[in-house]
Symmetry: C2
Subunit: 341 residues, 2 copies
């Protein structure tokens, strides 16, 4: 029998390959595979569904990830997918597989983190599954949310001349990860060493305890803005913009000097001799919102706190480009984080 | 820090311990943890949500489980939980973690099985997550279903004098598993040996390719019967009856000679010198429906194909008892399959 290595297809190629033969059977299924969340039609409300699988050694390293933070983050990244549809997360199911290495106290810490996230975002735990595992820790979370009819925002609605907007700053979570990895190497070499985290609290928090941008979704609603496309930035700005442009059949132009970057992340990048722009474009795990909006909403958007305009959507034939500080144009590439490579 | 081994709490104790501090925040959350599925209120329909986590080496053994069957079963066991709420499965999300040991062809087989199940039961795949794994295969499926308002059936509605009914037969899936385990041992000792499966197709199919009892849910609707309590039998009749009686604050009396058992399962049990009644009570994985119904529905129920009455609900002070062939009473114990032990 033929054997094709999974790495040859890549994550999105694999998902396409595996799911393209599935047919839609139910009128209540408005949107299936291919966005931040599925959309189900329940008359006056639309039900949003998203799911994430987190595996030890692939998605998290317990050497430097406190279990309570892990639980918090595992829940929040799912809430983020619901906000990215312009919806509100309402319920989650949590399934956990644990090896004998873990105690009840360990699991309690994970659930304490999940509970904190649920309280903070007003979400209910409604089910799950708990199982032994032969190796390591597995966390699978599914989140159900609600969207107002006609206000759910997909990835495919961006139009030429739309503004491209980003919340918060980008690249900080990735620089936090680089810092943790560096201190892990130091610690492995010398267990007496103390990690050097002074003045780096922001990038650490961005990596270990990210928040979902409920405030941005709320601000959009208050200002009467319905984005034309939206998604959360989990794999890096480049990769996500490519998704939006591909699904919207559009091009884009973003400006390097408009990409929002935090000072601590810049300092960390210099310390590690890395490019902070590359981290912002490809680092991932920022869980900020990337959205496009009609140029008619320009006046409203510039008054929004924590939102920056980084460029605009173009016709598809103009391609997907980053305009550098010297005015040079560089084609955007998806170098986002990909566990299957 | 204190360390409590997970095995000391057991699966249900652990779930209770981990989830009891969670509060319900949303009016749309009608029922959270503690039944076959969660129930969400969306006006005229109720949305049902259930999830299952399957881990290699714990829930399945790839030595004797074809990947397509595994995919089929992984989907069907979730549909079964929705039918057990008297609902209809509509959508699933599928998350899979795979190590490098697996090829695209392997994954395609799993998805072929899932697709077959989706087509057969009219369910849509609406999302998921695909990830690398350091070890083995992980499958996490969440199923969303719909229930008619006032017709969703919980575990807690059984009343004294209600009939206890079971669909199909019990213990066959467990005997199929025992057969597969025996042949695995034989094969490990001598790779030239051919498995002896003649006349054992039914119990093998019950283990490797179970079906969910959509037909029973449909028949109940056609006859105008709304069970007072219902669940699917995944852990064995004893364990499930204890759930229903505990949640309904009731006792029960079931009769050994009424427990439906298949001939192939009896033969297999004799070959292996095991008790088929024990297998039926504690074997699990039958995915039959266990339900209680008002005595007023007796005439309707006895005309239902594939449904047997095995006993009746009593007042709680009478306890939970099995009446043996000689009339002796034996207290029911939950010895169901438990991956955490």
């Amino acid at each position: 029998m033929q054997r094709t290595e999974i790495s040859t297809l890549g994550e999105f190629g694999l998902i396409k390959h595996l799911t393209e033969k599935f047919k839609i059977n139910n009128p209540s299924t408005l949107k299936g595979v291919g966005d931040d969340a599925a959309v189900l039609d329940y008359k006056d409300k639309q039900v949003l569904v998203t799911t994430d699988l987190l595996l030890e050694g692939i998605h998290f390293d317990l050497v430097y990830t406190p279990l309570k933070h892990l639980g918090y983050k595992a829940a929040v990244v799912n809430f983020s997918d619901i906000y990215a549809m312009n919806g509100q997360p309402k319920q989650i199911t949590v399934s956990i597989g644990v090896s004998k290495r873990f105690s009840v106290e360990d699991l309690t810490q994970i659930y304490d983190g999940i509970e904190l996230a649920c309280q903070h975002y007003g979400v209910d735990l409604v089910g799950g599954d708990t199982s032994a595992s032969l190796t390591g820790l597995t966390i699978s979370i599914t989140c159900i949310g609600e969207g107002e009819k006609d206000k759910v925002v997909y990835r495919n609605g961006a139009k030429a001349n739309d503004l491209i907007c980003v919340s918060g700053d980008l690249g900080s979570a990735y620089m936090g990860l680089q810092l943790l990895e560096r201190e892990k190497v130091v610690f492995t070499a010398n267990a007496e060493s103390q990690p050097d985290f002074e003045g780096k609290d922001y990038i650490l928090q961005r990596q270990l305890k990210p928040e979902a941008r409920r405030d941005i979704v709320q601000a959009l609603a208050e200002k009467g803005i319905v984005p034309t496309a939206m998604m959360d930035i989990s794999d890096g700005l480049s990769s996500e913009l490519i998704h939006i442009c591909t699904q919207s059949n559009a091009g884009c132009r973003i400006y390097e000097d408009k990409i929002p970057i935090n000072y601590q992340a810049v300092v960390m990048a210099e310390e590690l001799n890395m490019s902070i722009v590359t981290a912002a474009l490809n680092g991932g795990e920022d869980y900020e919102l990337l959205f496009t909006a009609s140029i008619d909403d320009y006046e409203k958007i510039i008054t929004m706190e924590g939102v920056g305009i980084v460029g605009h959507i173009t016709k598809p034939e103009l391609g997907l480009n980053l305009v550098g500080r010297e005015g040079e144009e560089i084609a955007l590439k998806a170098q986002g984080w990909n566990s299957l490579k």
